[in-house]
Subunit: 365 residues, 2 copies
């Protein structure tokens, strides 16, 4: 941890100028300011209260705050656990709310008194991540991948397990397999579509545009997709729903339509947390562990800060995993549009004890 004095020396200016640069006084020459900020970032500068030094990390939203989402919630829990090692605390920051337009990202973070930031990004805010990385402020981006090795990030590679999941359906005998994902374009979700596409291609199955559904990443979105699938004349016998909440919604709608899972339709979901255990039947799913993403991000960032290490291009990819549960089975012998059929069919209950996994959602780790 450095003081204005050291920064002044390194940057070849007075402490007055350093203070001004850090606080974005507009009388300071842009070139000078940039030089000072660069040194400050290199030194991991944070303003100190008396003798005491800050131990706060920012959990930063670049756009809309989505703390309420299961994914964010699990990531944050992981972060809270991960900062334990170095005894840091986590403060939630909202860039859109608080960053002044005339200050740099570093200035904003220093003003908030955090020593590093974990960035919750979306596809549309990738450029902001690049800018933060360029300024040299200690950071780690969760859930996006970057080509430039300047951005530190951690993500899950979900393409190969997505392919494996769809190939599992094919192995079960399915030939008409739909794909659903939310309608916000981002890297991860395109990967999953790619995995789906590759699996089809590997087995000489046609890719059909009308079997790819894009909707909101909500229960309602999943419900809509299932309703659309159920009413298709030549109905898919299986669907890979590459978003957690949509999967839950789809299961609900299947029940409501009287479709038996997996006898009438097989569903593979995608899970960040343990939602797959909260529906019936337990979802076969491609899984990533949001908690671990948060945990690892916190660990990497706190260590970077502690060691004062260079913060260039640290990139980490965590594995996804594919879990087979009870929502998948062989395709039905023949399928007709379901709506005319459902009301009259007996739904056989699944045998008890068929599931694996422990079914403990949000239990202590």
């Amino acid at each position: 941890m450095s003081s204005v004095r050291e920064i002044a020396e390194q940057a070849g200016v007075s402490i007055t100028t350093v203070s001004r640069a850090l606080n974005n006084d507009n009388t300071v020459n842009p070139k000078t300011r940039e030089r000072v900020l660069a040194v400050a970032n290199r030194f991991g500068y944070v303003a100190t209260v008396g003798r005491r030094n800050t131990t706060n990390l920012g959990f930063v939203y670049l756009g809309e705050q989505t703390i309420n989402h299961p994914y964010d919630c699990a990531v944050l829990a992981g972060v809270a656990q991960g900062v334990d090692e170095c005894r840091f605390d986590v403060v939630v920051l909202d860039l859109r709310r608080d960053k002044r337009t005339d200050e740099t990202y570093s200035q904003f973070f220093m003003r908030k008194g955090v020593r590093g930031v974990i960035i919750r990004t979306m596809a549309e805010s990738r450029d902001i991540c690049r800018d933060i990385a360029k300024e040299g402020f200690p950071h780690i981006v969760i859930s996006e991948r970057f080509e430039d090795d300047s951005v530190c990030c951690i993500d899950c590679e979900s393409k190969s397990d997505s392919r494996r999941a769809v190939e599992y359906l094919i192995a079960l005998g399915h030939r008409r397999i739909a794909f659903a994902v939310h309608n916000v374009p981002d890297r991860d979700h395109n990967d999953r579509l790619e995995g789906y596409r590759e699996a089809l291609a590997n087995h000489d199955l046609d890719f059909r545009d009308d079997w790819v559904f894009r909707h909101q990443y909500t229960l309602a979105g999943g419900e809509t997709v299932m309703k659309m699938i159920a009413s298709m004349p030549e109905r898919p016998t299986a669907v890979y729903i590459a978003d957690p909440m949509m999967g839950v919604g789809a299961v609900r709608m299947a029940h409501e339509l009287g479709l038996n899972i997996p006898n009438d339709i097989s569903i593979i979901g995608f899970d960040d947390t343990e939602l797959r255990f909260s529906v019936y039947p337990t979802l076969t799913a491609v899984c990533q562990d949001a908690y671990t993403i948060g945990f690892e991000a916190a660990l990497l960032l706190t260590r970077m800060i502690r060691d004062g290490a260079v913060r260039k291009g640290l990139q980490k990819s965590l594995p996804t995993f594919f879990e087979v549960h009870d929502s998948t089975g062989p395709p039905p012998a023949q399928t007709a549009p379901v709506l005319s059929l459902a009301r009259h069919r007996a739904v056989a209950p699944r045998p008890a004890g068929a599931r694996n996994g422990d079914g403990a959602l949000h239990e202590k780790r």
Copy 2:
């Protein structure tokens, strides 16, 4: 916001002594220390970095961190929204991890640089809340109720809606109604049991110990309860499950056992968030809004701090609400132990469109 100088003047000591008292230097007389801390709390003291003053609120765990739980997650989202008005930020603090045994709660919070705390408590940490209140540090406790008017708190009164819910079952014709809740004794959950008890008493139904189930507040807990209920010789026709995750688990197990909800058994759940929309059929439930609890808590606390108002005895109770959905209906004409029956019965699908509520879990508010 006051300085050491002002506190020194008020407390009749030097700034040296103030500094020592705040930092828990052990050479300072306990009496003096207490006087200084009392003044500091009255003035809402926080150490300042240069000219800048802190805008952090603590979201404090007294015991185990449960950020991963849907309830905490929703509360925190509400807090993050609620601090917007006064432009505060939220930092997650862990008392058990960081508080030194020889420092007071106020000293701990001041060291962490927060101007007030929202306290996530459990039954076993009620005493800590009282101590924090006694010290005079700006606080608000969520989800517990206190007789002493010294503790500021916000909670939901769930007894009357619990009674209403059970009376609703009675009105539907149920006479054998079970109750389930988790096995951690706390105020809220006892209220719900009381509501259940009152409803039975009001309608001359016997309260039976063997129909009250206490288990873990997890999916697994709810599953176990449902399994136990299903196997009882004189099986209850309805159950009020006064914990969200347990309700979801119970629904899963009912499906697995081939019990139709509500034809074979009616289930009323308890919901803090929107879990009731994520299962099939949508749960009839007593609901409290964890998001609003967090939002209101943040609003009250930030205003207290902003206005420098007296912080004694602010108590607020939010209403719960009772929502009827699809998991409740009249009792079956006759019931036998289910396990022998289930495999052979046709389960009629529920008519589509029977649900109310919008089914959008975690959608933007």
